[in-house]
Amino acid sequence: MIGFVLLALALVASALFVVTASKPVYSVVGLLANFIALAITYLTLHAEFLAVIQIVVYSGAILILFVFVIALLSSGVKPFAAGPDRAPRILGPALVCAAVGAAVVVVAALLTPFAPEAIYGLTGQADVFGSVADFGNALFHHNLLPFEVTAFVLMVAIIGVVLLAGDDGPPPSRRPKRNREPIAKPGRERIAR
């Protein structure tokens, strides 16, 4: 239980930091902390494969993407000052909605009788819950179609990104233009055209 409390604190604190940091780079760091804490939480839930995927994909790829874009958008211009220097007017209603929603879900969760957890061992075998083999079995046997469709989705995303933010066309040519003036024939005056 103590572990969970510590993890929970870490998650909430880093999430709050992400939302309230003054610079985007700080938010990225906070998000990284959040993802790592989340991976550890997955481990407590016997979802080892997903914990690793979380680290590799989320904090390894997506966060780096964010960092690149931050770098792109801040190049050569004034540093970011686009965060709120004072609380925006919208913060009040947003907090209210959030608080209400959270409270409702929490209360409901507390009142819901959940089934007692199943008991599993902690070895990496195929019939063991949460292991890579188990996961791969499920993915490639029962969920093959969604797997292939996500591949398609990723391809579309790549194409979209390239189209949206890709090149501006071929670079301007640096070769000198061919002189197209005909060679002047002797004996004939060229009157200005």
Binding site: P88, I90, P93, A94, C97, A98, V100, G101, V104, V105, V107, A108
Partner: protein, 656 residues
């Protein structure tokens, strides 16, 4: 199947339509066309005399069914003695007046329109008298009112004419309310619209209901026939051209009330209260018209008030139950009143639209034919023995007495004397003495040309005034007048029968109306005639003393001026009827209209419409305020939606 009946009825309608549609192309052909159609109707009516006098068992006359919507809603034409008499007058006198109008209105800009309207009027009046059901009667009633409006207001660019036509129409509508109510009650009670059905089931009415129905019918008759208190439109109606005054407001339309009473005779005979009412109003109107006729200066107004008075006689007679006497007076009155009006028209026309008798005088030598015609007419209207008016007026008076109404009889007798006085006054002032046309109006007591009565000083449209008045053949106008002189004298003789015995007239109407049973103790008829004769002589005598004796003729100008100035206000304002109606009805109505225009219209109606647009605008602004363009605001709405969903699904649950 009586095709001639349809011809009689629809011929003038065809004329009206054709003249309306092709008036500008027909121009002066419109007159002969219109006259010919009415003349054809007259000939057809004459030839159908036999079928009108047919008595076939219980059915009197013939019927031409038109179409039957339901068995109870059957429309048709009825051709019996009452409608025969009225049709002959409408088409006969109408034909003569059509011919006269060709001469009178020659050169007028809207010549064809006039004849279209006249033909339309003849059609409307025929609808009224030829219908065999109350709905057709109503249709004719309304159309006749419309025709009167169109013809009074014929000179559309004269405000006084327009106002007069409007006044006539509005007062007619008041009467329409009465007759409509009566018809509705009758149809609701009896369930059928034909006269035969109605008269067969009279017992369905209680005496009280019957009186109410007769009262309502009488309201309509009073409005149409210019009885007190709904008479104020008739003097103003003289704004129309003289032929119109002759045809509509003397001979035919104003007698629609008399026709109504005659047609509904069974109802009237069944209700003594109704008879009392009708007779009293008729007598009152007769004497009121006579009194007011004594102080008028416009020749047409004198004749208008005399019309009102004579119709009072007719209503009085028909009202008390002496139907045939009332119809006889209608017959003779139509002839001599048309004669009088048309002669007045000749005078007016030849004097260049001068209507005030104070500016006439000495016309005996200038217009001998008019003099002779007017003399005949005056004798006829006064009831000089031998002329037609004598027979009819005395018939009316003695019948009134025979039905037991001595007070009405007395009023009628006094009126006869007054009639002689004011008609004599008109005759003498117009035709004797020196011609006063060149004398300054103020010397004659004419304060202002317009105030001296209806002035047709712009009788023709201004651009026509350059035309010489006598460019139409004179026989067009004098011919009809000459023709009318004959019945004005002789038509009364059909009622000549020794002491009220079986004259041709009473025999004619015997199958229709129950025989008059005199109240016992009534003096014989010759007593009435003698008293009336004495009063006629007295009336003429007074008129002669005031206007006709040589000294009066010499001093005509100052005498006329003094009389004009000293006319008592109550008479000059026609017993304040106009003022009272104005104050009681017209001014409040106008005030209500103005209030609506200044308060309701801008504040309620306009404001309502504006408010509708303003609230639509406001609603639009409200919705626009949601579109801030800010992504985060939209995100907030999504979050709000998520919170709502959370609450719904978690708390309320979906099939937990």
């Amino acid at each position: 199947m009586h095709p001639l009946l349809l011809l009689i009825w629809l011929g003038p309608l065809a004329g009206a339509v054709v003249l309306w549609a092709f008036g500008p192309q027909l121009r002066s052909l419109a007159g002969p066309i219109g006259s010919a159609l009415v003349g054809v109707s007259f000939m057809a009516a004459l030839s159908e005399w036999g079928s009108a006098t047919l008595v076939d068992g219980s059915l009197e006359g013939v019927r031409q069914p038109l179409f039957a919507w339901l068995p109870q809603l059957a429309f048709g034409l009825q051709w019996d003695r009452i409608s025969l008499v009225w049709t002959l007058i409408i088409t006969g006198v109408g034909f003569l007046i059509h011919v006269y109008s060709i001469g009178y209105l020659a050169g007028d800009r809207a010549f064809a329109r006039f004849f279209a309207y006249l033909n339309f009027f003849v059609f409307a009046m025929l609808t009224l008298v030829l219908s065999d059901n109350v709905v057709g009667l109503l249709v004719g009633w309304g159309l006749v009112g419309l025709a009167s409006y169109l013809l009074i207001g014929y000179y559309i660019d004269r405000p006084s004419a327009v106002a007069a036509s409007r006044k006539a129409f509005v007062i007619n509508v008041v009467g329409d309310v009465g007759i409509l109510y009566a018809v509705f009650v009758i149809v609701a009670k009896i369930g059928a619209i034909g006269y035969g059905d109605i008269f067969a089931k009279l017992t369905a009415f209680t005496p009280g209901e019957l009186f109410i129905v007769c009262l309502a019918l009488f309201v309509g008759a009073a409005a149409k026939s210019a009885q007190v208190p709904l008479h104020t439109w008739l003097p103003d109606a003289m704004e129309g051209p003289t032929p119109v005054s002759a045809l509509i407001h003397a001979a035919t339309m104003v007698t629609a009330g008399v026709y109504l009473i005659a047609r509904f005779a069974p109802l009237w005979s069944a209700s003594a209260d109704a008879r009392m009412l009708a007779g009293s109003i008729g007598a009152l109107t007769a004497i009121t018209g006579a009194i007011l006729g004594c102080v008028q200066w416009d020749i047409k107004r004198i004749l208008a008030y005399s019309t009102m008075s004579q119709i009072g006689y007719m209503i009085m007679a028909a009202g008390v139950g002496a139907y045939s006497a009332g119809i006889l007076h209608f017959l003779t009155h139509a002839c001599f009143k048309a004669l009088l009006f048309l002669t007045a028209g000749i005078i007016i026309h030849n004097l260049g639209d001068e209507q005030d008798v104070r500016k006439m005088g000495g016309l005996r030598k200038q217009m001998p034919f008019a003099f002779a015609a007017m003399l005949v007419g005056v004798c006829a209207i006064c009831g000089v023995p031998g002329f037609s008016g004598f027979f009819s007026k005395d018939d009316v008076l003695s019948a009134t007495l025979a039905h037991g109404h001595p007070v009405m009889w007395f009023v009628g007798v006094v009126t006869a004397g007054l009639t002689a006085y004011y008609m004599g006054r008109m005759f003498l002032v117009t035709f004797f003495g020196a011609y006063r046309g060149n004398i300054d109006p103020s010397e004659l007591g004419m304060r202002h040309p317009e105030l001296a009565g209806t002035s047709q000083t712009a009788g023709r449209h201004p651009e026509e005034e350059e035309h010489a008045p006598a460019h139409a053949p004179a026989w067009l106008m004098s011919g009809p007048v000459a023709i009318l002189m004959v019945p004005a004298v002789f038509i009364g003789w059909i009622a000549f029968g020794p002491n009220g015995g079986a004259s041709a007239w009473t025999q004619f109407f015997a199958p229709v109306f129950p025989a008059d049973v005199p109240v016992p103790g009534t003096p014989p008829d010759w007593v009435t005639s003698a008293i009336v004769l004495v009063l006629i002589v007295a009336g003429f005598g007074v008129a002669f003393l005031r206007y006709g004796n040589p000294r009066a003729l010499l001093d005509a100008v100052p005498r006329l001026r003094i009389e004009a100035v000293r006319t008592p206000a109550i008479l000059a304002n026609a017993f304040y009827f106009d003022t009272a109606i104005d104050a009681l009805f017209v001014k409040p109505a106008q005030a209500v209209g103005r209030w609506f225009g200044s308060v309701v219209d801008p504040r309620v109606i306009d404001a309502g419409v504006r408010e509708a647009s303003i609230s639509a605008n406001w609603l639009g602004h409200l919705f626009r305020s949601f579109e801030t363009g800010l992504v985060r605001a939209y995100a907030l709405t999504i979050a709000f939606g998520v919170a709502c969903f959370a609450i719904y699904y978690v708390v309320i649950g979906v099939g937990r």
